[in-house]
């Protein structure tokens, strides 16, 4: 059985009564009453003080009903023993003074005996009332104790806001002795409330049964924060009789909150300062961003330029590849052409032998003539292919003394068909005293041929189609000028014309190597080549060739004519 059940048992079960009565008749009357009224009493009867002592020692009762005068003493002799249970004193009529005394000593009630024993009729009610009161008292004590001992400060005011109760915690917290504060107006607790009205205004803000925070004032005038709740106490009829206030000192919490708020403020301040920093950084970043954008734009432009350069490089590479290809083709053509020479020599001689042994009236004679002509044509084609091929150019061509005029003769002969077809007027002036110069004839011929071909290209769509060659001595040099009335070269291009792979001609028509090769040839000869041009007017190339620069011994070719001349001279 736990404590709660025990408590229930205590009140729900029969009431345990100790009757202390020395009068046997009264004892019997009590017994009869219990029986007749069917009262749920368990009782013990003691007939004397000593008996009562014996019974009380081991047993506990809910209530004691005791006759005042007992054979071996009075009720006061056992008062101490039954102190914690309600006592009802029964006295004889005329002993009211004793009743008062007993009540003062702690008795709960008293009954006056009468002859008819009518007092027994009120006994049950009295008992019940006493037990109820005792229970209430006990409860009150418990509650008081609870209220007194809790850490919150509890105070109770009447409806006029006078303090009628405070607990221990209150006294401790507010610095009052109980007697100093009881009866005082509640306003003494309120900070900044000098009048009762002020307090009423403040208190009216507090909703019942809700916690609010205020500043309360201690006895020494210092203030402190409290969390306050109020509730109204009503009597059994529902009338408001008192107000309970429960205040808890929240100083520490407030301090903690202060600290927290401080920390929060600090945090906020830091956040703000950091935000400012960030804003600044952001502004800086924006600025940097702008700069970066600018840089990016610059990069884009540079990239475009690089791409352009790259495209140009690609183009150049293509040209280089093309040039390589052409060079390879040239090498192959040269090789093939050389190999063709032997069989062609055979064919030519075979035909010529047949011709020699065929009478002209034979109808095969003219056919053989056709064959001879066509074979010669083949031989010419091969010869032309070889003339400007690399094989020929890289030959052990020694320098020999030659006049530029002679080279131009050959060049114009080579280009005669084209010159005639284009209707170009060629004029040439050679100063009489112009000497022959030491040169690699084929190379110089290639230079002149290149210049004339360029001029012919430039004259294609011109109305006035003229090329003028001027050859004259100039100190230690011979100066050769090739001027045309062609379309001219734009200023931005004229810088580049001697660069390898620079060409303005359609793909397949120019390798962009012509003028760069010309320059290398002229340089190799110790000479100079330069160009001036006016778009829409014409172009003039000027070449200076040193007259007396001879690097290599003449070896090639020894001409048949000279040999023959030698023989003639010899005899």
């Amino acid at each position: 059985m736990n404590r709660e059940q025990a408590a229930k048992q205590e009140y729900k079960g029969n009431i345990r009564i100790l009757l202390v009565e020395d009068d046997k008749i009264d004892q019997m009357a009590f017994k009869r009453l219990v029986k007749d009224e069917n009262l749920s009493y368990d009782y013990d009867i003691a007939g004397s003080v000593s008996e009562a002592r014996k019974i009380l020692d081991p047993q506990r009762f809910d209530i004691a009903i005791m006759d005042y005068s007992l054979g071996d003493g009075t009720v006061f002799d056992i008062f101490d023993l039954v102190k914690d249970i309600p006592i009802i004193i029964v006295t004889g009529s005329g002993d009211e003074g004793i009743a008062v005394k007993a009540m003062k000593a702690g008795a709960y009630d008293y009954l006056i005996k009468d002859l008819e024993r009518n007092y027994l009729k009120v006994l049950p009610i009295t008992v019940e009332s006493a037990i109820k009161r005792k229970k209430t008292e006990k409860q009150f004590r418990m509650l008081s104790h609870a209220i007194m001992s809790i850490n919150d400060s509890v105070y109770i005011t009447d409806m006029d806001d006078r303090i009628i109760f405070v607990n221990k915690s209150f006294c401790k917290t507010y610095g009052y002795e109980e007697e100093n504060i009881i009866g005082r107006h509640i306003s003494v607790l309120w900070k900044g409330a000098s009048t009762n009205e002020d307090v009423k205004n403040i208190i009216s803000q507090i909703k019942l049964n809700q916690k609010c925070e205020f500043y309360h004032r201690r006895r020494d005038g210092s203030e402190f924060p409290v969390s306050l709740s109020r509730s109204v106490i009503k009597d059994e009829n529902g009338n408001e009789v008192a107000i309970v206030g429960v205040a808890s000192d929240i100083t520490e919490r407030k301090q903690a909150e202060e600290v927290l708020r401080g920390a929060y403020d600090e945090l906020e301040r830091r956040v703000e300062s950091r935000t400012t920093e960030l804003s600044k950084a952001n502004a800086l970043l924006m600025q940097e961003n702008t700069e970066r954008k600018r840089a990016e734009e610059l990069l884009v432009r540079q990239k475009e330029e690089i791409e352009k350069a790259h495209a140009h490089l690609r183009e150049t590479t293509q040209m280089l590849v093309q040039a390589e290809k052409m060079s390879a083709v040239g090498t192959m053509v040269a090789g093939v052409s050389h190999e063709l020479n032997n069989p062609m020599m055979g064919i030519l001689n075979f035909i010529q032998y047949c011709l020699k042994h065929t009478p002209p009236e034979d109808k095969r004679y003219s056919i053989l003539q056709d064959a001879e002509r066509e074979t010669n044509r083949c031989i010419d084609i091969v010869k032309n292919l070889l003339t400007f091929s690399r094989m020929e150019k890289e030959g052990p061509e020694a320098r020999q003394k030659e006049v530029c005029d002679a080279i131009f003769d050959r060049v114009f002969k080579l280009l005669s068909y084209r010159i005639e077809k284009q209707g170009v007027l060629i004029t040439r002036h050679t100063a009489e005293e112009t000497p022959a110069t030491w040169m690699k004839v084929n190379n110089i011929q290639q230079v002149f041929l290149n210049l004339i071909i360029n001029s012919l290209d430039a004259l294609k769509d011109r109305v006035r189609k003229e090329i003028h060659i001027d050859i004259k001595p100039d100190g230690e040099f011979v100066q050769v000028t090739v001027a045309d009335t062609g379309c001219g070269i734009s200023p931005e291009n004229i810088e580049k014309i001697f660069d390898p792979f620079f060409t303005t001609k359609p793909v397949g028509e120019g390798t962009g190597l012509g003028l760069s090769v010309c320059r290398s040839i002229i340089k190799e000869h110790g000479g100079e080549i330069s160009c001036e041009s006016k778009p829409g007017v014409g172009t003039r190339f000027r070449i200076l060739l040193p007259i007396d620069r001879r690097k290599e011994k003449i070896l090639w070719p020894i001409s048949l004519d000279r040999r023959r001349e030698g023989r003639k001279e010899n005899g």
């Binding site: 032997n342 062609m344 010529q352 094989m391 070719p557």
Partner: protein, 127 residues
């Protein structure tokens, strides 16, 4: 009469060209298809003119030229070539050593063959 001409060339067409072109000239044309065979011939016979190819398998024209000159220092030797550049430096060296030779360019027509031959053997000719 009875002048002897030697043609050294690995190409049958070339050898035949010389033979046919000079058929009715009264000159005696002999041919050799390699430098080695040419040298053998010159060891046993005396020639008045030699046509020599440059590019041949085995002994090439330049080597043959040197050997020929060891045997006969005066016979006119015409190098008949289609200009193969790999021999140019060697030829240059040979010329610098004072070894005499002439060069003609392939292809040669019957006319030119006869002209050159007569020019060498009988003095300048007019076309």
């Amino acid at each position: 009469m009875g002048r002897r001409i030697l043609v050294i060339d690995d190409e049958d067409a070339v050898r035949k060209s010389f033979t046919l072109a000079l058929e009715d000239t009264g000159y005696q044309v002999e041919t050799a298809e390699s430098g080695e065979r040419g040298l053998k011939k010159i060891q046993t016979n005396k020639y008045d003119l030699i046509f020599l190819d440059l590019k041949m398998p085995g002994m090439n024209g330049v080597e043959t030229l040197r050997e020929l000159r060891k045997i006969d220092k005066s016979v006119p030797i015409y190098i008949v070539t289609a200009f193969h550049k790999e021999f140019f430096d060697q030829l240059k060296g040979v010329a610098e050593e004072g070894i005499g030779f002439e060069i003609v360019k392939k292809p040669l027509s019957s006319e030119r063959i006869v002209l050159i031959t007569r020019g060498i053997l009988e003095g300048p000719q007019s076309l």
